[in-house]
């Protein structure tokens, strides 16, 4: 029989307990880590102050209020060279966000299509998609951006090719879109009197669309009757806006680009640098998204499909009601981190000269003012905030989609 003979006598606290007693060791380690961390931080801050003093500089953000003295090619908000550096940074940020937003949309379209087609029973299509994915995933995105830019500036016709009796190039979509090596010109909407009503109607019809969907779902759950929702939704989407538009005598018109002099005038000019960046980022990221979609669909176990078939559910509804909801749970988190990657990769605009946040705040402003430290810190902070917003969106989604188990 064992007896508890070696009950530790209370000897009070011994110093060796700080290392050998697991109750205190964690505190010891943390104190050491804290001291080391503070020490490193202090050394860095000290170095920075000494170096800045040697250079005769000090950390100062007032340059943000000074006029920027440079032009930006594409401005989404009002801007000219007398605007402040801060405004230039905001213009750059908006350009970054614009290309990231457009890129995310196109990349999702490309990726979902490629991912689904890669699972197709059609051998040829599946192989073509495999080649697409493997080609784009394994070559750096910078090369794709530069190559796309080269395609746009070398393979596209010059504006002068559109001129003359027998032009070698012609505009697309009934003479409204001109694709040239200087950029793509698309029609610009001209907001006439009363266009506000059209927009308001459109927004209201979106609201109606949403509430109709809710109502139809409730009705289906209550009565079991299925409405032809797709047609009704299409009608709600189009009809009111169209009616108001026609009733007010077509207040919104489009200003199409036209060849005047050496170049196209009118319309909105999308610079080639932006289009190259957008296309290259989308197609590159699309290859990753294709793999995510494919693995997400494959992750739904076969038993789920078989169970759905055993219940007599049609294949299309099996996809919508059984496979997709489960696959989405697997697909969405990595998809959003791809969006994050795309947003960060948009800083490679550097390769084509698109003026994004890095080119304004971390480029021309930094070079003009000589304030590297402030500009880089600010730029990193902005990118960090954008990333954190995107990833916190992901966390919210994850929480709402989490399997509710036990």
């Amino acid at each position: 029989m064992t007896t508890l003979t070696d009950i530790p006598q209370s000897q009070g606290f011994r110093l060796s307990q700080l290392i050998y007693d697991t109750r205190y060791r964690s505190i010891t380690i943390q104190v050491i880590v804290f001291i080391a961390f503070m020490l490193v931080g202090w050394i860095l801050v000290r170095n920075v102050t000494i170096n800045l003093a040697n250079l005769g500089k000090e950390i100062d953000f007032t340059f943000l209020r000074n006029p920027s003295n440079y032009d930006i090619q594409q401005t989404l908000i009002e801007y000219d060279s007398t605007s402040s550096n801060f405004r230039a940074a905001m213009v750059g940020l908006l350009n970054t966000l614009l290309v990231a937003f457009l890129g995310c949309i196109l990349a999702t379209l490309v990726g979902v299509t490629a991912g689904v087609l890669r699972l197709s029973k059609n051998w040829l299509v599946a192989k073509v998609m495999t080649v697409y994915v493997e080609t784009f995933r394994n070559i750096p995105v910078v090369i794709w951006i530069i190559a796309t830019m080269a395609v746009l500036s070398e393979a596209l016709p010059q504006p002068s090719a559109f001129r003359g009796e027998t032009p070698t190039a012609s505009m697309w979509l009934w003479d409204t879109v001109a694709v040239t090596n200087r950029g793509t010109y698309i029609p610009m909407p001209v907001w006439g009197a009363g266009s506000v009503f059209v927009i308001v109607t459109f927004l209201l019809s979106l609201l109606a669309l949403w509430s109709f969907g809710k109502w139809a779902q409730r009705r289906f759950e209550a009565t079991g009757q299925i409405l032809p929702t797709a047609w009704i939704k299409l009608a709600i989407f189009i009809a009111p806006t169209l009616l108001v538009y026609l009733a007010l005598g077509a207040p919104i018109t489009f200003d199409s680009p036209a060849l005047k002099g050496f170049n196209f005038q009118g319309g909105i000019q999308l610079s080639n640098s932006m289009i190259a960046l957008w296309l290259a980022l989308s197609i590159y990221t699309g290859a990753f998204i294709a793999e995510i979609v494919r693995s997400g669909i494959l992750a739904v176990s076969k038993g789920q499909t078989e169970a759905a078939f055993a219940l007599g559910i049609r294949p299309s509804r099996t996809m919508n009601l059984v496979i997709l909801p489960q696959a989405l749970r697997v697909i969405i988190p990595p998809l959003i981190s791809q969006f994050l990657n795309l947003t960060k990769n948009s800083s490679l605009a550097l390769a084509v000269g698109y003026q994004d946040l890095r080119a304004t705040l971390g480029g021309t402003t930094m070079n003009n003012t000589g304030r590297e430290l402030e500009c880089m810190l600010l730029m990193m902070l902005i990118y960090l905030i954008v990333s954190l917003i995107i990833s916190s969106g992901m966390n919210v989604y994850n929480k709402s989609m989490k399997l509710k188990e036990r």
Partner: protein
């Protein structure tokens, strides 16, 4: 049964020869019908992709395979093409041939020293092989362990004493650890050995090395500055160093993030989220523009080394997240079993947790490696003379002004081969290590 008054008019008395299956049900035609034309939608898809593939190949194959391989300039190449085909719609691969050295070694690498990169490359393969395939003799691991020091000596030159001294530091750390482990716990052992190595590297080592260099320099090679490096060589140097360093750092960060110590966890989370939240290009600009602010005044810090540090830090944050996923996927029973066996934290990690967690995260780890290797192209933007910079210089050169595709296709192909073989290897490894029965 009696065979009389039968109503059947005819009964076959011998068995029929076996007939071949109907033509449409076997072989190629069945395969084609089932896989390519099984419905109207599939037929459309097949036709569209056939058309696409055909157009692409029609444009690409004659262009690529009808190319010219030897010429000194674009004009000469075009002249040859005009003579041969009457047009210039063919590739001028001659640029690769003529500018091979610039693309592979960079513009400034002295041509008398090319052999050093060749030796380093062969040794690199010999060093990597035992890591990749455990069927190879374990003795080859000695090459792997010696490789970092030999590589530094071969590429940057100088006397061999410097790298040896660094290696001796590791030896001292190992020796001190094995002695101290007899008397001390694991934490203190690590501390003592780190201090010993640090003392050697910072104080004793440099003195010994400079004394030895003055008296008898060992195998002194011509010194090469970092800015002389370039081309494919610099991509491999940055890529391989980043890969080798980011895995251990990533493991440490992942463990830190999973740690019970709130302070350690907080620091690791902050570090990981910061590095994942900013684009690599901003980190590289920081390395090239800002790092001097954070270093003590008048310290010089090699640009290649700065880039390697930044690339490593960046991908170690991703690595940490990948490994954290592996750790989270491990059933809790494994941790509890390790505790029940009385293993301490590090032993449990080394023997039970990490082997399984790393196995789960192989695809993610290799994807991070591939990403890192592809990201080495970004060093082009901070003035390191890699392959993209070489391409730009060649295009700006009057002899080859106007060439685009051949260069980028070649560079892309190099990256493609490296990255694709990495991903194939990871799939092979995953299959090899799979222990469940599916």
């Amino acid at each position: 049964m009696v065979k009389q008054n039968s109503t059947i008019a005819y009964v076959r008395s011998e068995i029929l020869e076996q007939q071949p299956a109907p033509r449409g049900q076997v072989g190629a035609s069945k395969w084609v019908r089932e896989n390519l034309f099984s419905g109207w939608f599939n037929t459309i898809l097949t036709l569209v992709s056939l058309y696409l593939v055909f157009t692409l190949l029609q444009a690409l194959v004659p262009w690529a395979f009808g190319g010219v391989w030897t010429a000194d300039s674009l004009q000469e190449c075009r002249a040859i093409l005009n003579e041969r085909y009457g047009n210039t719609h063919h590739a001028c691969w001659a640029v690769i041939n003529e500018r091979w050295n610039q693309i592979v070694y960079g513009t400034f690498f002295p041509s008398t020293e090319y052999w050093r990169t060749h030796v380093a490359f062969v040794l690199l393969i010999l060093a990597i092989l035992p890591v990749l395939f455990d069927a190879l003799p374990r003795k080859m691991m000695w090459i792997t362990m010696a490789y970092p020091f030999v590589m530094v000596w071969l590429i940057w030159g100088g006397s061999l004493w410097g790298p040896i001294s660094v290696a001796v530091g590791f030896g001292i750390a190992y020796f001190t650890a094995s002695v101290a482990a007899r008397y001390l716990g694991s934490g203190l052992t690590a501390l003592v050995s780190a201090v010993a190595a640090f003392v050697w590297w910072m104080i004793l080592g440099p003195i010994v090395v400079s004394a030895l260099n003055d008296t008898m320099p060992l195998l002194a090679l011509r010194e090469i500055q970092s800015r002389e490096l370039g081309g494919f060589v610099i991509s491999v140097i940055i890529g391989v160093s980043g890969i080798a360093l980011s895995l251990p750092l990533g493991i440490i960060l992942a463990l830190g993030r999973q740690s019970d110590l709130p302070l350690v966890k907080m620091i690791c989370v902050g570090f990981i989220e910061f590095l994942r939240g900013v684009p690599l290009i901003t980190l590289l600009f920081t390395a090239s523009l800002l790092l001097n602010y954070f270093l003590p005044p008048d310290t010089e810090f090699d640009l290649t080394l700065r880039v390697i540090v930044m690339v490593t830090l960046f991908s170690s944050a991703y690595m940490a997240e990948v490994i954290r996923g592996g750790l989270a996927a491990l059933p809790k029973g494994q941790y509890e079993a390790a505790d029940a066996l009385g293993l301490d934290y590090w032993k449990a990690q080394r023997l039970i947790i990490m082997p399984q967690a790393l196995k789960i995260s192989i695809p993610g780890i290799v994807n991070t490696f591939i990403g890192l290797f592809k990201d080495t192209t970004l060093v082009f933007f901070i003035g390191i003379f890699d392959m993209l910079a070489a391409a730009q210089a060649i295009r700006a050169n009057s002899a080859w002004n106007g060439i685009t595709w051949e260069l980028y296709i070649f560079i892309g192909l190099i990256f493609w081969v490296c990255c694709f073989s990495m991903s194939r290897y990871s799939q092979w490894l995953e299959r090899k290590l799979r222990t469940d029965h599916r």
